[in-house]
Symmetry: C2
Subunit: 293 residues, 2 copies
């Protein structure tokens, strides 16, 4: 994620691909920042508990309004587990005064008309709002999500079936090794250390830093990146950045083995088993045939 580099004055001379003419029909997918912001959740049921989990992941303060009888067991667990983050009131939503200090409002009510009223108040007060079950009132929707440390992925089917979003989530989850989050974290640490060593914002140095970091990410695979510890990061900066090169992990460790013939992991061996089995079967069959003659 980035807030991206801007360039209003430079006119690029590179050819640009033609502009697509069939855009539209989608949503605007964004990573909303809620750190220490105030979020009101009206309702305490199962949907409210799902909302609480998403909101806690973004470090907001949460106010939950719901009569105790409507509080789901999981909502209760969250309230108990995060006392510094969640304030719970055993009562119903009382009116527009509840909204004005809020940065975001989510309703999770069975009563569509009350949800509708709250949404109108939010629109009036210009507070972003999502109403469970009433898509046309929502400023934003949710999608299926994958989280692995600093890595967050959202999958939206733009209303064409939550089941398909769940299937896509499964498919994408299977394509990931589960080490990506750790690798991204390590890259974040490497970036910070590099910035300590070569400080300053933007300019030629900034571009050089960005290029070197990209090169590291392109050269090292995910498993390699997860191995970055304090010592290896220092060595990578000494033997890499300082010399304007990007050594491989093997070079950095002083190991020079040809990658193609290293069969280190169990997975590599597992891939060979069918081949070995076929070879043996071929040998046995051939042997049996020859002996029979």
């Amino acid at each position: 994620m980035s807030s991206a580099s801007s360039s209003t004055t430079s006119l690029s001379l590179q050819p640009t691909p033609p502009v697509p003419h069939n855009l539209g029909g989608g949503s605007f997918l964004i990573a909303w920042q809620l750190k220490d912001k105030q979020v009101l959740i009206v309702g305490g049921g199962e949907v409210a508990s799902q909302r609480i989990e998403s909101i806690l992941a973004a470090d907001a303060f949460i106010t939950v309004l719901s009569p105790a009888k409507g509080v789901h067991v999981r909502t209760r667990q969250f309230i108990d587990a995060y006392p510094a983050r969640i304030t719970y009131y055993d009562r119903r939503f009382s009116g527009p005064a509840e909204i004005h200090k809020m940065d975001m409002v989510l309703t999770a009510l069975d009563d569509v008309n009350r949800s509708r009223d709250i949404c109108e108040m939010c629109r009036e007060a210009k507070v972003p709002v999502n109403a469970a079950d009433i898509p046309d009132l929502c400023d934003f929707y949710f999608g299926a999500q994958i989280r692995d440390g600093p890595l967050q992925i959202m999958i939206s089917t733009n209303g064409n079936g939550p089941r398909m979003a769940a299937l896509m989530k499964k498919k994408i989850g299977e394509a990931l090794s589960g080490k990506e989050g750790e690798a991204i974290e390590k890259v974040g640490i490497l970036r910070a250390r590099l910035k300590d060593r070569a400080p300053g914002v933007g300019g030629l140095l900034g571009r050089k830093r960005m290029k070197w970091m990209s090169e590291v990410c392109n050269t090292w695979d995910i498993d390699d990146l997860t191995e970055l510890d304090d010592a290896l990061i220092a060595r990578l900066l000494d033997q890499g950045w300082d010399k304007s090169v990007v050594p491989t992990l093997a070079q950095l460790k002083g190991v020079h083995k040809s990658k193609a013939w290293s069969l280190g992991s169990n997975q590599d061996w597992a891939m060979l088993l069918p081949l070995v089995g076929s070879f043996a079967l071929g040998a046995v069959c051939s042997f049996a045939l020859v002996r029979r003659r």
Copy 2:
């Protein structure tokens, strides 16, 4: 994506997994709704052109403010290609009056101080704002995105390096066949036809519809779903929904072959080649050994 079903009054008796205690550190990933909303983009450079593309995908109206000399060739192409969606003014941002009719503001300026001023005006007017290059001023960030028709995927590394987001995007892109968007579209059509056949909101029928749709998505694979045309959808509803079963595509087409032994695709054959090769090699080696004796 869904705005999700609510349930404030029902208390679940199923055991719930323990509440995670290490939430936090992430963003709140959402699909913002911009259909026919007003979005102001201040700046016309390369970053502005990227913003325009994302915003057009969500069917908003766009106002671009930038002196002509700062307009990137791609920004110009978008302005020319979408005259009904984009209004361009050859001038600089003039003051808070520009903001009040807006639903969202994005700055893409080289001048950090002007960006900062605009962000403050937006915060005052409670208009969501993103400033390129100034993360601490942003209400929201962007992530790497994949789009395939109704399927949208966003990948965020929460600021730990845009290169890693791009790598994750590549990895996820490779895990998808490219037919997912079409499959999701077809599922959307099937859902709409089913709702025509068995109309009504919520209740027992709503749950039955949801369950049957889930079953279809679970039983049929992505390639099967893309084959759904008007005739097949009608047959699926007649022979499936009306009889409370979920036939396979093969059953619907009147074809009954055992899937496990069908080796139709080139990929299936390609997978067998190494095994056949190993078998042959084993046979030859064994034969040679026996003959030598």
